[in-house]
Subunit: 327 residues, 4 copies
């Protein structure tokens, strides 16, 4: 089945602000809510998701967190300041071998990691992006200071990020290893994916979208152009689709979910600017989907139990995660 990418009109800031008016979910889950669309997933949905576990296969959707990660490649865009995880040892096996640990009566290794919360496979918190001076649910952006996020910190999601996972393998549907940079996945594509993969998106689902870009970078041996660069991804219009379906979260194998170069003049990451602060929609990025793609093609089942816990770092605006697809 071919997937075309029709030329759509260039968007403007007027479209952004119109979408903000149209898609605003503020107050929908109370004035104190800090998790947005994650509220869509209810206990019965979790029970139902667990029932999808039928062969006992667990697939990690995380890239390894290490110095070979996706940050630091060359880019035509300004640097983001993110870097790959730095893993440092504070006690080692070589220390043990040298005998210098024996004074404590235990031969053990210890270690430390220094990592941006958004360095690899990750969730954005709702405190990650602001719309003008506000964030999700109308909170003041000034609640995110150098001391962290007082509102909408990632720790609020510690018992969320679990439910039914739906896998939209758009690259496979398009019959390509990887969609091209700048390829916009539209509402039409999403509608077609439901039929193509024989799954119906329901309230509270997590949608996992594969473009193939990450695997293409891995195969090329270079991350140049990945972090902060051009990419295939969701069109701005899909915000309407996701809103209408009442999904809990969306994740992709790209750096930033949305298509880049962006479809809008005057705004960088317009999809983010509506999804996170206006809709309260959780976004996952840099998901590793190669194994899942192969497995789903084999068994023809594009739904699974999805468990992708955040690390509850208090006040964090995102979190690395090791998402599990359990079938």
């Amino acid at each position: 089945m071919a997937v075309e990418n029709n030329r759509r009109r260039r968007l403007t800031l007027d479209d952004l602000h119109a979408a903000a008016g149209r898609l605003k979910n503020w107050g929908q889950w109370g004035q104190d809510d800090e998790i947005g669309t994650l509220n869509y997933t209810q206990p019965p949905d979790i029970v139902a998701a667990a029932r999808l576990v039928q062969k006992g296969k667990v697939m990690s959707l995380a890239l390894p967190f290490d110095s070979r990660g996706p940050q630091g490649g060359r880019s035509n865009y300004p640097a983001t300041g993110r870097f790959n995880p730095m893993h440092l040892m504070t006690r080692t096996g070589t220390d043990a071998y040298a005998g210098v640990l024996d004074k404590r009566g235990i031969r053990a290794a210890d270690d430390i990691v220094i990592m941006p919360m958004h360095c690899g496979t990750q969730w954005d918190a709702l405190s990650h992006v602001f719309y003008r001076d506000t964030m999700w649910n109308g909170y003041d952006c000034r609640s995110v200071t150098s001391s962290g996020a007082e509102k909408c910190g990632i720790e609020k999601t510690r018992e969320k990020m679990i439910g039914r996972g739906i896998f939209f393998d758009v690259a496979r549907m398009a019959g390509t290893a990887a969609l091209e940079d700048g390829f916009a996945i539209t509402n039409e594509h999403l509608d077609r994916a439901e039929k193509y993969f024989k799954v119906e998106v329901r309230r509270g689902d997590f949608i996992i979208v594969r473009t193939g870009q990450l695997e293409a970078k891995l195969q090329s041996g270079s991350w140049d152009g990945y972090a902060g660069g051009d990419a295939p991804g969701l069109a701005f219009e899909t915000l309407e689709w996701l809103q209408s379906k009442q999904v809990s979260g969306v994740a992709t194998d790209t750096w930033g979910v949305e298509v880049r170069p962006n479809e809008m003049d005057g705004a960088n990451s317009p999809f983010h600017s509506i999804a996170i602060p206006i809709m309260g929609l959780s976004l996952g990025e840099i998901f590793y989907l190669a194994e899942l793609s192969k497995d789903c093609a084999e068994d023809g089942r594009y739904e699974f139990m999805f468990v992708a816990p955040t690390l509850p770092v208090t006040g964090a605006v995102g979190s690395p995660t090791n998402p599990l697809a359990i079938k």
Copy 2:
């Protein structure tokens, strides 16, 4: 039901080495194995674990990762060098408010964490502890250098740490808020717990043991004496029990699983020295079990689906985790 803690004889290094001979699982899962007892959990066990999800309730067993964490309290023991997570912002909402982010056309916050892998709720990797100059499966301890663990890094467990969770709420069984420091949980206690909580431990289970110590520290408002200090915990003899039951992993609400002061002269953490390098048994620590304790007491069900993914930091000898108990 009262739980007594009979005085047992003081152990010696001879006991340690004898246990090493008796409990050695090296080679059981092949010469290349790096995950040990996690092999016990097989796909049908995961399907069965998923069937335990009946009310759709998700409980996080993680402490918040922040500056108020369990490291840094005063201790009578030498400092371990571990510290609480340091969360630092690289872009903020106050930057957005001040207008300094607008040149990039996106108002967003970013952040970084600096954390020991063993700073809070965590899994030990099998590369964490050595027995003499070897680690799990007979690997040379020199494979854990300043560059990390070449063998048995935590990333090898990225699709593990999932299965049936069994909750042994020993403090509740003992009728106390918290067991005393130095209280040794013995094989007899574990046998009694199976009956008391009406669960039978099976191959591949994850055993979660609550002593109440962590909650007591939280209530006291001080972590003094917790990290690296005295604690209730598993007796050395329970290694035999865990071996015979073929459990996948064990986790507690204490700093180090095992009872402290340790039962052995001449060794620090003797339980670790056998469990990890000799048996290949995964240990979880600093699990927050208050909510789980309350819930299990209410519904009388001490088993659940347990999903506690590690963060696959390449070469790490442990990992923070956000363990989920799903009922």
Copy 3:
């Protein structure tokens, strides 16, 4: 010679704002100046300072930078978020001994430090403290973002922090090992010190003031109460004295130069709030002065060549330093 500490009247925010009007040096060294009073030290002053080197003795005024440093003690004040330097190895001699480095043909050790710029012996940059929404020379405080200080970063001082050092050993003048917390060093004390130590303060000098507090903490074996706590220190009124003398910088052996509890209601660190953003005066803190105290008492010379280079970390609002007194 006794040194009394007369009760002075309690100050108010009115005093703060009046001082701001009276002491403002903005524009004095041009609209583009970013180093303030460091301009007072001119080349002939440096030549003259070098002539003070007569016995070839070099004294470091730095505390060791390590985990035993002054941060992290208990305090009655809110935590500042500063911590002691964390020194981590990335290659070790134990690695070398174990043979794991030989593949590169070099046996070498490497390391990393994680440290607050204000964790130990340190200089404040003029971007460290703001007066209302401005900083030194009238720059907007918004020029100090999460990306660092665009104006008045410490790197601007890389060729400064050198000149004549004057040592006011006020504890010795007072005949005590250490002045008490809350003891305010007044203009009268400074006048007396000039006579007592037989030195006349001149334009461009660096004044080093010893209270004895740091040594008292070292002797007590505990830093409790030091960082951010009460201390002896300069009275607010000494800003006038320092202004009239045209000194380049002032440093003390305390955490924050000024007397604490502060003399003013409604302001924390009022001395800083005038010295740095209004006067452009460089402040040094946590200087280790024990050896210098002993040496000056022995040879009776309270002036020396002072070289205390900052580390030019671009955009930093302070810098650790290893200040040298050279006599």
Copy 4:
């Protein structure tokens, strides 16, 4: 004056071990010495160095410490794991502007640096390089563990790194902007430099050698090939020259002082392997020498007071520094 670079014979490990026997200074300053050739500089030398200050001009020889530093360029050699300084803010002017700091009554900014000790302008400690299993003065290399260097840590040099500086502007002598990669500066060149620059090297001097490589990299806008890459530098034979002159330290504007590709088969950095552990010679690297080059050419004086304090990070195997040339 032309400077030729005659082809010399390729060296072998036999040459390395022969040099180790011939140049060993162990025990020369006592069995407890940890600073090696820095002992050559005596108090009268420091007095004499101060007399060289004649015009009051201070030049910093440090590169800025920031994300644009020399680490991270592309290289044909294996990565060293070093990275550029990461400067992070913990309180900002934008926080102040947003009003979120006012609850503490002080508007101030704070910050943190994460940096390898060898990331930029730096001194190597004598614990940085091992010869077989020993380090300087015969200490066991196992004294450098994951906890740092128990012997020969950089903190031992806190009152050293001061004396007479001699500037050998070899690039200028050679009539070139920058010597070529692989250009070996020989004993003959050093002899010639003494005459050319009209300075006689004396016991206790610090020799600063300019190849022009660093400035060439700055001008090219890329650090590719600098860190760990090929470079002009001191020939292995100059160890004899430096030994005979009894210099205190040597610094260059290159990544590693010595010529690269190295002159020896089977060893990486053979010059380091003798200079540091065998001779106890302090090496400085990545010195910024452009301004000094210009000034010395103008006034014809190639000697000055040299003050380059290390930051006394306990147990560190190196230190960033802001070296000052004072004329």
